[in-house]
């Protein structure tokens, strides 16, 4: 299960989030993107489609730009890190149908717990993985 992490400003908060996700996901580590253009290019690559994408949002406009990825995001579970609690941003955020969201000023312990459960707890009946015979 692959993880993408989008963060335009790779500052201290990014380092914290990256560390928390690395701890939760363990192997493989998240692929990090600083531009949505590069992320879109990654999503047009055949195979190795990520299961989860974490977006660090700076402003509501970012959410609308992520929405423009449209069908490229089909079947990818979204986690959002919003800049602060703001009802308008929260309302816009739901357009992306996030599976979880938190805020940039949190300590990210909850994010780690959610990512751990998402990646490691067996869902009740997960899709079988097609492994080719050796």
């Amino acid at each position: 299960m692959d993880l993408l992490l989008y963060c335009a400003n790779q500052d201290d908060v990014f380092l914290q989030v990256d560390a928390v996700l690395a701890e939760a996901v363990r192997d493989p580590k998240a692929e990090v993107f600083a531009s949505l253009q590069n992320l879109a290019r990654r999503l047009t690559q055949p195979m190795d489609r990520p299961a989860v994408a974490v977006f660090m949002v700076v402003e509501a406009g970012d959410i609308l730009r992520i929405l423009e990825l449209g069908p490229l995001m089909d079947d990818i579970r979204v986690i959002l890190i919003l800049p602060r609690y703001d009802p308008d941003i929260a309302k816009t955020a739901h357009l992306l149908r996030p599976r979880y969201y938190t805020f940039a000023d949190s300590d990210f312990r909850d994010l780690g717990a959610v990512a751990t459960k998402m990646f490691h707890a067996p869902r009740s009946k997960e899709v079988p993985v097609l492994e080719d015979a050796p």
Partner: protein
């Protein structure tokens, strides 16, 4: 419409139904009956199974798809449990034997027409938006009917189905076709949220509610105000929280953690699960009263293995999507490719099919056509194993050496004729076993004409139907 090769049966049913005030028509072959159904406007079709030009069950799905979408009642001289199951799964209203009394035949007719009348009275006034949901097979029709009902009402909806059947797509379609479509659609992923977080996320909190709660935060229930709250994997909702959530469903108001006053939220609930939630209730892991509230309206999605009519459309649609995503020419596929996909059981349903197509496109490289070889080994192996397990064990093609004649020695001509007859009998038996009674295949293998094969089967008293 009565489709039955037995003229007496047709006349008897037509007379009875006319007395009940219904207009009837009849056909003695599948071909003429199907043509009439396609051209006419029928509410109900009585369909015989054993017809001179084929098996009625084979055209049942096509009758259900015809423009008037009639209900179908199967009437058969020889009822069998597998036939009944196949008929019901293909969308038949009922399956009855010809020996039944007239009352036993007219009762399902009355009920089917009553059901149809109510269904037609509740047709949605607008066309459903369901761009992402591909398929029109008869088994999906009840799902779309339920979706239309859900969109037109504000009732709680429970969507059930195996993993990968499209529960989330249906949940979104309920929201997008409802009066709340312009408001928020809020997802709660019960399977991904740790138990310690769910309560806070759902209900929100007041400042100082717990260590670190330095400001108020609105919960997901409040954020779904005037919109739709989607509880995915609702079977995973912690038991400790189910009572509180039941109250929210009843009152549409709740108290945030550490909060002093009630908050009102006018949300519509859609929930989904791939678990057998009745079993969870019987095991004490899910509250019966909450389940009762959740399933005001239920949409049960069929697994892909029951939607074989939709397979080609799903494959073509997703190949086009993937090729567009990858910026490559749209690929076609060889008939054997789709045959292999049809033979596979798809335990992961549409999601697994889509993953498989992605791998096949990648394996095909620059080839404009997808072949069976491009499918993942796991699929091809499963298909091959399944084909082997369905074939009966092959008997020896060369029979054992004949016993030498005992007693009075026959003439060589008589001896050879008897041996040839025995060999011919064994060959024909084996031929029908291997072909499953398929006459065309049997003729192809044996090199016999259809008439020649029939004559020999008759001579040896062998029935084609095994």
């Amino acid at each position: 419409m009565i489709i039955d090769d037995d003229q007496v049966m047709c006349d008897m049913l037509a007379t009875k139904f006319s007395k009940m005030g219904h207009q009837t028509d009849a056909a003695q072959t599948l071909g003429s009956g199907f043509t009439k159904v396609q051209k006419g406007n029928f509410d109900l079709v009585f369909l015989d199974v054993g017809m001179p030009d084929g098996n009625g069950l084979d055209i049942l799905p096509d009758i259900r798809k015809s423009s008037s979408r009639p209900e179908v009642i199967i009437i058969t001289g020889l009822g069998d449990p597998q036939g009944a199951e196949m008929a019901i799964r293909s969308g038949a209203w009922d399956y009855i034997e010809k020996g039944s009394s007239l009352r036993e035949i007219t009762l399902p007719l009355t009920r089917a027409l009553q059901y149809r009348g109510e269904k037609l009275n509740h047709q949605p006034l607008m066309a459903l938006k369901r761009e992402s949901i591909i398929g029109n097979s008869p088994v999906m029709q009840p799902c779309f009917d339920r979706l239309a009902q859900a969109a037109a009402s504000d009732a709680n909806v429970l969507i059930t189905g195996e993993t990968g059947t499209g529960k989330e797509l249906f949940a979104r379609a309920v929201h997008e076709n409802s009066a709340r479509a312009q408001q928020s659609y809020v997802v709660v992923d019960c399977a991904s949220l740790p138990e310690s977080l769910v309560e806070n996320l759902l209900f929100g909190h007041a400042p100082g509610a717990f260590t670190g709660a330095d400001r108020a935060q609105e919960g997901l229930i409040a954020q779904a105000h005037r919109g739709t709250l989607f509880l995915d994997e609702v079977g995973e909702l912690p038991l400790s929280l189910q009572k509180a959530f039941l109250r929210v469903l009843q009152e549409h108001s709740f108290r945030p953690l550490g909060g002093g006053s009630e908050v009102h939220s006018d949300f519509r609930l859609v929930a989904a699960t791939n678990r057998d939630i009745d079993t969870l209730v019987s095991e004490g892991r899910f509250r019966r009263d909450l389940l009762f509230r959740l399933r005001s309206l239920t949409i049960g999605l069929p697994p892909l293995r029951e939607r074989s009519d939709d397979l080609t459309e799903l494959v073509m649609g997703h190949i086009a999507t993937l090729c567009e995503r990858y910026g490559i020419e749209c690929k076609g596929f060889h008939p054997e490719f789709i045959e292999a996909l049809r033979a596979y059981s798809w335990p992961g349903n549409v999601r697994e099919l889509f993953n498989t197509l992605e791998r096949a496109i990648s394996a095909a490289g620059y080839s404009p056509t997808l072949f069976r070889k491009d499918l993942p080994d796991a699929v091809r192996i499963a298909v091959a194993q399944s084909a082997l397990s369905k074939k009966p064990p092959l008997g020896p093609l060369v029979p054992e050496e004949p016993e030498p004649p005992s007693g009075e020695l026959p003439t060589l001509r008589t001896y050879l004729r008897d041996i040839t007859d025995q060999l011919e009998h064994s060959y024909l038996e084996e031929l029908l076993v291997r072909t499953g009674g398929d006459l065309k295949e049997a003729c192809d293998i044996s090199g016999l004409s259809r008439t020649g094969l029939y004559d020999r089967l008759k001579k040896h008293g062998i029935s084609r139907k095994r």
